[in-house]
Amino acid sequence: MSVLEVKHLTKTFGKFNALYDVNFDVKKGEVFGFIGPNGAGKSTTIRVLLGILKATEGQVKVFGKDAWDEAVDIHKHLAYVPGDVNLWPNLTGGEVIDLFVKLRGGNNNHKREELIKKFDLDPTKKCRTYSKGNRQKVALVAAFSSDADLYVLDEPTSGLDPLMERVFQECVMDVKSQGKSVLLSSHILSEVEKLCDRVGIIRQGQIIESGSLNEMRHLTRTHILVDTKQSITALEEFNGVHDIEETENGLTFQVDTEELDNVIKHVSQFGILKLESAPPTLEDLFMRHYEGNEKQGVTTNG
């Protein structure tokens, strides 16, 4: 069952096309990673699904309800953390958290105290004195102490230290284990890799790739390090082999996943001493897509 459905979403600002025919969905109980370079349209998409911006075209449904027309009903079961958390300089963090929790209609004091402690936040300080990370903590505490069904997080950890990032990850795992859904827009790929079941990659307002990480890995290359008794020959003649390099520890190269079988068969003829393989990282995926057209141009030429 889909908690969030985005269909043919287009958003224009004046003449500028910020989003063009965006489609994706988030299923119940899953963590969906939303990644893309700066200015790709992540925040715009999120604002449309929050009913802050009105879709120019297309349909956005949250819990089966229209994101614009039924925003208030939707928001009773949704928690949001923006990337840039702007707070009121003369309210304290504690006051803001209470206000946010109350405006959603929930009330979970026990959770509030626990999270404030976990995130190591001083709720008696005025927001004026908070650093970016601390403001983000305020928004995170407010979000996770409310009992929502969908958590929408727009680059929520960009100001957190590694320790706090770990706490954040625990919070996400925690809500996931309760069967809640999460839409996580992020730049920190290790985080996305660790947390997300599926990802969507957006670039220049269009989704260019989406699916589970396993599916996506299929589309890319595995890193291989191999050391053999005799030196390997004719490897470069294989179609799907790239970036062959001689190192102290042996030969390294990348191989397209569909060619893996053939290549390993070929290599094994030379007497394997050592074989290490690493799955493609999200970074590889990311770089391939971000660098976009230039890179593709090079591969077709070469």
Binding site: A71, N90, T92, I97, K102, L103, K125
Partner: protein, 533 residues
């Protein structure tokens, strides 16, 4: 040493000027034009000395002195008339300009973290403050010169060169003084709102102190910088001493601001902040409670300010009686009008000014909604279970309550001061109805702010243009003898002038219907549009 502290001040000054060049140009052009269109208009309306002398008769009373300050009524040339009617009001506007310009590049930039970046560059600790002072000072020197030569260039006989230059210098000097005041408060207060608030309070107190002392004891007006404006006696005896005083005071204030800046940490003020509350009070936990909390300080300050304003005007009613008691001609001239008492005849004149000023805080309260949107804080509210109608409704209700409180308090101030200084006392009901009758017009102004927010959110400030228009045509309407429709383009022009006119029901009813209409439209617009910053 000076190198270290003031490095790159010149470059920063040029940078600030670049940022603000359009803003500064608009202020200067607006003020200069506003000043130089007046004398030809007066010259046209009052062609002979006899006509001008006739108008002095309505000017020579405490209510007018409280509003315009003293003037040279015995030699009421076009020049003296311009100086009397215009210079004080223009000086107040110049004071507001100084506060807004100066707060921008001191505390506001500091609060938003921009000064931090500047300070990390090879610029001195005091460079940015002084760059900002240089730009503001240059602006007011420019204002002095443009206004001075502009007035002289009109070629009107009574506008001589010395008087014209003095006119400009007085305005420029006022600007410098309030730039200094703002520079000091930018060090003392921890926020830009506080800076603007405190500086405006000083401006208001200066005005009220001047109003009271001009009526009761003119030599005490030397205590108020705005009193100096009238003491210059422009286009009559041309006193330069007040201008020198302004220069001296502004230099002292600027030195003080430098000193204060040098002994504090970046981001800090001098009013220490204590730890706040760990939990939100019950009241805060709603959009309405939040909206109120954000405006609480402003609300209380304005409420006190308006009570004091009303009381200051009320306190002159005593002098009023003595004044008219001694003057039989006035008694005859005024009493013939429909049997209203002397004081009653002046109430509408005072009330229109009070009502217009009481409209400022509710309009600010309504525009706060847009301010919150610009700072991206509405997202926090709207992404929770709060509808747009409820959100805007909270600000609207607050603005309406604000309007009601402000107009009521100023009436209360006027009545309580007036009744205590008058022999026979004043009837509260009469004063209150003359004030509250403006309520529909105030709500209509709030409505305009809502309408702009709904449909032209980037132009919500246009409501102030409309407000200034209203102020101008109704405050100076009688002087300029505008046709009726000019005043009626403003909601305030439709309000019956109690107690000398009857409380006509129809105009108030129609005005209220129109107000409700534009408010509903504005809500619809707000519900249909994107949030944008």
């Amino acid at each position: 040493m000076a190198d270290q502290v003031l490095a790159n001040t010149g470059r920063l000054a040029r940078f600030i000027f670049r940022l603000d060049r359009i803003r500064i140009a608009l202020w200067l052009i607006g003020l200069v034009i506003f000043t130089i269109i007046i004398p030809p208009a007066f010259d046209n309306l009052y062609k002979t000395q006899a006509e001008r002398d006739a108008i002095t008769e309505t000017m020579a009373n405490p209510a007018m002195t409280a509003m315009f300050g003293p003037g040279d009524l015995n030699h009421y040339t076009t020049g003296a008339m311009t100086a009397h009617q215009m210079v004080l009001m223009t000086a107040v506007i110049v004071g507001i300009m100084a506060i807004l310009l100066m707060a921008r590049h001191t505390r506001a930039d500091e609060e938003d973290g921009r000064i931090e970046m500047i300070r990390a560059l090879p610029s001195g600790r005091l460079s940015y403050l002084n760059a900002s002072l240089v730009v503001t000072s240059a602006t007011f020197i420019g204002l002095a010169l443009f206004t001075g030569f502009g007035l002289y260039a009109l070629g009107i006989e009574s506008l001589d060169l010395e008087g014209s230059l003095l006119y400009g210098a007085t305005l420029g000097g006022t600007g410098l003084v309030f730039a200094g005041v703002t520079a000091v408060f930018a060090q003392l207060s921890e926020s830009s709102r506080g800076t603007i608030g405190w500086s405006t309070a000083v401006l208001l107190i200066a005005y009220l102190l001047r109003a009271i002392t001009d009526v009761s004891n003119e030599s005490l007006s030397w205590l108020s910088p705005l009193g100096w404006v009238s003491k210059a006696e422009i286009y009559s005896s041309n006193q330069w001493l007040p201008v020198l005083l302004m220069l001296a005071v502004s230099i002292i204030l600027m030195v003080v601001s430098n000193y204060l800046n040098s002994i504090r940490d970046l981001g800090q003020g001098f009013i220490a902040s204590k730890p706040g509350k760990k939990y939100a009070s019950r009241f805060l936990q709603s959009p309405f409670g939040l909206a109120f909390r954000l405006q609480r300080t402003g609300f209380i300050s304005w409420a006190i300010g308006l009570f004091v304003l009303g009381a200051s005007y009320g306190s002159i009613f005593g002098d009023f009686e003595t004044f008219f008691g001694d003057n039989e001609m006035y008694e005859q001239m005024l009493v013939q009008a429909e049997g209203a008492s002397l004081v009653e005849q002046f109430i509408p004149t005072l009330m229109i000014v009070i009502a217009l000023i009481a409209t400022i805080p509710p309009v600010i309260a309504m525009n706060k909604l847009r301010g919150e949107e610009k700072k991206e804080r509405l997202e926090h509210i709207l992404t929770r279970a709060v509808s747009r109608t409820k959100l805007m409704g909270s600000y609207f209700v607050l603005a309406v309550i604000n309007a009601f409180v402000m107009i009521s308090l100023s009436a209360l101030g006027l009545w309580s001061a007036g009744t205590s200084v008058m022999e026979e006392g004043l009837e509260f009901g009469m004063i209150y109805s003359a004030a509250i009758v403006y309520f529909p017009a105030m709500v209509a102004m709030i409505g305009i702010a809502i309408l702009l927010n709904g449909f032209l959110p980037r132009m919500t400030h246009l409501v102030w243009l409309y407000f200034i228009y209203s102020f101008f045509v109704l405050y100076l309407g009688n002087m300029f003898q505008f046709p009726d429709w000019v005043g009626q383009l403003s909601p305030f022009g439709h309000i019956p002038q109690l107690p000398i006119e009857d409380a006509a029901f129809m105009p108030l009813f129609v005005l209220s219907i129109i107000a409700v209409g534009i408010i509903i439209l504005g809500f619809i617009g707000f519900n249909k549009r994107d949030l944008q910053n």
